[in-house]
């Protein structure tokens, strides 16, 4: 199926769930986050879609004015088609349903996105940091992130942007 046909299939099953977003490419689709678990189950189990492979989950910070996003890359071994799903989150309270129990690899992908962006995946059975230490402060890949200068007594002086070329 082409990406347009996949979008139509999702729209017909979940009316009003596909959002318009001009910034997205042809193979990307933005969905509403409310029914995400049901939609993901549909993507996986529908015989015409049959997305049996979750290739990647990652996050994007679109800047101060924009939302945080989670992006999912799905691929179907059966039909050899793929789609990228975009879900936007409120910056203050980013959360969405976890799909960790549908695709097991989603476990670590969601932990990584949680680690870097602070997006909470509700229903994840073991949601804790995966790369940073457990007691790390802040969400490193957010645009407003300020690195910590002191970690367990190790003081690391921050090198400021202006000093770079002087």
């Amino acid at each position: 199926m082409t990406p347009a046909e996949i979008k139509t299939a999702i729209e017909s099953q979940f009316p009003g769930s596909v959002l318009e977003n001009e910034d997205l490419a042809e193979n990307q689709v933005e969905l509403k986050g409310e029914q995400w678990l049901e939609m993901a189950t549909f993507l996986k189990n529908d015989p015409n879609l049959c997305f049996d492979q979750l290739e990647c989950i990652t996050g994007i910070d679109t800047g101060e004015a924009g939302p945080l996003q989670t992006r999912y890359n799905f691929h179907s071994m059966e039909h050899r088609h793929k789609i990228e799903v975009v879900i936007s989150h409120d910056r203050e309270n980013p959360k969405v349903a976890s799909i960790e129990q549908l695709w097991r690899i989603g476990d670590w992908f969601e932990r990584e996105t949680y680690d870097m962006f602070g997006i909470v995946y509700e229903g994840h059975r073991d949601l804790r940091r995966i790369l940073c230490p457990d007691d790390w402060e802040g969400w490193p890949l957010r645009k407003d992130y300020e690195g910590q200068e002191d970690y367990h007594g190790i003081v690391v002086p921050k090198i400021k942007e202006e000093e770079e070329w002087e």
Binding site: C132, Y145, G147, I154, V155, I159
Partner: protein
């Protein structure tokens, strides 16, 4: 030699105990086998047959208890820094540290924007020899190890230090 000449039979060497200990220590500094990033590949290449670190008495040990030299080979993240410190503390005296490559020495390419990278391993453990490079070739590492051996030989472990 004067008075000592021809006073002993063959195969007897007369030296100060300090010097003898320095010689013994410097000729077999076993290094702690752990790598943190791409520098570890060069360290492995140094230990393998082409460069063969065992020529100069260096032998990899997998336990800090048996190692004399810690080669910090690679990027030290904040998470790893605490562990590097712990491993250093587990080594028995005398112990030495080699900072291999620009990451371990100063943070390397992560010196400005690497929020999670320690800007030099000398912030957590004392370093004896710095080996520059990104990563240093085996020749450079061997040069650093020979420098360390020179340094060990000049130590006087039995001589009382006066303040």
């Amino acid at each position: 030699m004067g008075v000592l000449e021809n006073r002993f039979k063959d195969n007897i060497i007369v030296a100060s105990l300090d010097k003898f200990l320095g010689w013994a220590r410097s000729t077999s500094p076993w290094y702690f086998q752990f790598g943190l990033a791409c520098c570890a590949i060069e360290m492995m290449a140094s230990a393998a047959s082409r460069h063969d670190l065992e020529r100069i008495g260096m032998m990899p040990r997998s336990s800090p208890r048996q190692a004399d030299v810690m080669i910090v080979a690679g990027t030290v993240t904040m998470k790893m820094a605490l562990r590097v410190k712990k491993l250093y503390e587990q080594m028995a005296d005398p112990k030495y540290v080699i900072s291999m490559g620009s990451c371990a020495t100063s943070g390397g390419p992560y010196w400005q924007h690497g929020y999670h990278v320690l800007k030099g391993v000398d912030l957590v453990v004392p370093v004896d020899v710095y080996v520059p490079g990104c990563p240093p070739r085996p020749e450079a590492l061997i040069e650093g190890l020979l420098k360390l051996q020179e340094k060990i030989q000049t130590e006087r472990p039995l001589t009382r230090k006066t303040a």
